[in-house]
């Protein structure tokens, strides 16, 4: 049976990794995720040509794969990984080749939720180091955050209310050959997982290739009791046959509490709050709304052109029947910003149930654009 892979980040490492994965006979499906576009400054560090400058990284790599191996099923997603529905990331292995620490943290969480292995790669150009970390799923094995300390958390990119959006992580500027080295090691570890040479029972580990001294170091990671990611076990996700436009907020709340009163049920999407209103920083105008923050695109005030933003008073981590205005109960999840492949959670007291909206995951095609 063919295996599926998700690759996130198509820069210094990812652009070299994709053709290696595309040539693995055991792989029959690849999901490519990157919000960026190639530009001419990437010519010397990433696998791209001058003619590809200005084009979407995900689309460029998808088209290349189509030429290399036409039978391969490729889906491309050109948006920030934190906004991609969890079901669309589902694969046998997730491969992270990202600069951003926030994106790595998000992918670690996604891999844990889905119960799949994560292979994370990075380079340190000054020291000529290529690093590949393999994180096995399951509650007994270390995750990425088990290896983090406060300094790692302090280095996470952040949004500043004074500045608006979060800055992008700085590019490593590593030479192409170092990125290609990390990609090759990452591909080797991926194939070892797919072929069963490495099993989840082997636990989590890291391979560092020191190209300067021509040495390799392997470190085993152990599960940290102080890990800040509270849930290491995979989510039990029930896959619905309904698309987001076919499910109302009320129906979603009923899914999670069959037969019982739904008044205390809470609807949420992992890590993405609901926006209940936007306020203009220029004129103070308040615009009532109800949608997931991910789906809010209007950022400029119609009256004065000032920046629209949601303050803490306008954010809600979950929706409940007893707090919902009447109208949104009958609204479809799509109109609230939910997408195919989203995994929403219904929480009642301490119990949480997870449901995936139709359209995501292996076996069924996600709505991502075909390359």
């Amino acid at each position: 049976m063919g295996r599926s892979l998700t690759v996130v980040g198509l820069g210094n490492i990812g652009s070299h990794l994709v053709p290696l994965l595309g040539r693995m006979p055991e792989v029959d499906r690849l999901v490519l995720v990157d919000k960026g576009r190639y530009d001419r400054s990437n010519l010397y560090t990433q696998s791209m040509t001058p003619g590809e400058a200005g084009k979407s990284k995900a689309r460029v790599q998808g088209l290349r794969l189509e030429r290399t191996r036409p039978a391969l099923d490729v889906a491309v997603v050109g948006r920030p990984v934190e906004e991609v529905p969890l079901g669309q990331l589902r694969a046998d292995v997730i491969l992270a080749c990202v600069d951003s620490r926030a994106a790595r943290q998000y992918l670690n969480q996604a891999a844990r939720r889905l119960g799949v292995s994560l292979i994370d790669a990075g380079v340190l150009s000054d020291a000529l180091l290529a690093r590949v970390s393999v994180f096995a799923p399951g509650c007994d094995h270390a995750c990425l955050e088990c290896t983090w300390d406060q300094a790692d958390y302090d280095a996470i990119e952040q949004t500043y209310p004074c500045r608006g959006d979060a800055p992008d992580a700085a590019s490593t500027g590593a030479p192409a050959h170092l990125g290609a080295l990390a990609a090759a090691v990452q591909a080797l570890e991926c194939q070892a997982l797919l072929c069963g040479r490495t099993r989840p029972a082997h636990g989590s580990f890291e391979v560092v290739v020191d190209a300067a001294s021509r040495r390799q170091h392997v470190t085993r990671f152990v599960r940290s009791a102080a890990c800040r990611l509270p849930e290491h076990e995979p989510w039990d996700i029930r896959r619905l046959l309904d698309a987001p436009e076919q499910v109302t907020a009320r129906q979603a709340l009923v899914f999670g509490s069959p037969g019982g009163p739904q008044s205390d049920a809470r609807l949420s999407l992992d890590g993405i709050p609901f926006v209940t209103g936007l306020r203009c920083l220029g004129c103070g105008r308040h615009v009532p709304t109800l949608a997931l923050r991910r789906s809010i695109t209007a950022r400029a005030c119609r009256s004065c052109g000032g920046r629209l933003t949601a303050s803490g008073a306008d954010l809600a981590s979950c929706l409940a029947l007893d707090t919902l205005p009447v109208a949104p109960c009958g609204q479809s999840l799509q109109s609230l910003g939910f997408e195919a492949g989203d995994v929403f959670t219904i929480r009642r007291g301490d119990r949480a149930r997870h449901f995936e909206l139709d359209g995501g995951g292996s076996g069924r095609r996600p709505p991502a654009r075909k390359a």
């Binding site: 996470i156 209310p161 301490d350």
Partner: protein, 177 residues
């Protein structure tokens, strides 16, 4: 609460925050919700600046800020979710919006302690610290650049200074009556 690490963190913040409030004349801390609290109301009794109805800049003597520690606080922070400016609404400060309940402390990393947030808020309110370039209130930033001799508006420390006084009895005088 299921997350023992977050629960221990919140308990520590409660103890440290309340201890600071006890030792300060300038901040009052009101925990909200069940123990360990995830929300606080911080009331500052220090001097700051506000804009009067006639447009002049005047002193104010109180400020209220809501502080929330979401479930993910130890892993990632969203300043919009953590801090909420509650008043006065006519506050005059580059880091505080006068149009929305938003205050910007600059970087607020995951797991930042409650007392650090209180100190930073105090420094903002009293103009010990303010943004001159990236600002939520650009008019206040421009004004502040030209009136730096006004600052800080309140030089008092947040935590009451402890001065140990030892009073010794006067030396005994022989034959004192």
């Amino acid at each position: 609460m299921h997350d023992k690490i977050l629960s221990a963190f919140l308990t520590r913040q409660f103890e440290e925050g309340m201890a600071l409030a006890r030792e300060s004349d300038l901040v009052e801390l009101v925990p909200i919700g069940t123990h360990p609290p995830q929300r606080y109301l911080a009331r500052f009794r220090c001097r700051g600046l506000c804009r009067s109805d006639d447009g002049s800049i005047a002193e104010m003597d109180y400020a209220e800020v809501g502080i929330c520690f979401p479930d993910e606080y130890l892993r990632r922070t969203d300043p919009y979710q953590i801090l909420m400016w509650l008043g006065p609404s006519n506050v005059w400060h580059p880091n505080i919006s006068d149009k929305a309940p938003i205050v910007c402390l600059g970087r607020l990393g995951p797991g930042t302690r409650l007392v650090d947030i209180l100190y930073q808020l105090f420094e903002i309110v009293t103009y010990k610290r303010f943004a001159t370039d990236d600002a939520l209130n650009h008019d206040a930033a421009a004004w502040a650049r030209q009136h730096q001799d006004w600052f800080p508006v309140d030089p008092r420390p947040l935590k009451r200074r402890v001065i140990t006084l030892r009073i010794e009895p006067p030396p005994a005088e022989g034959g004192a009556r």
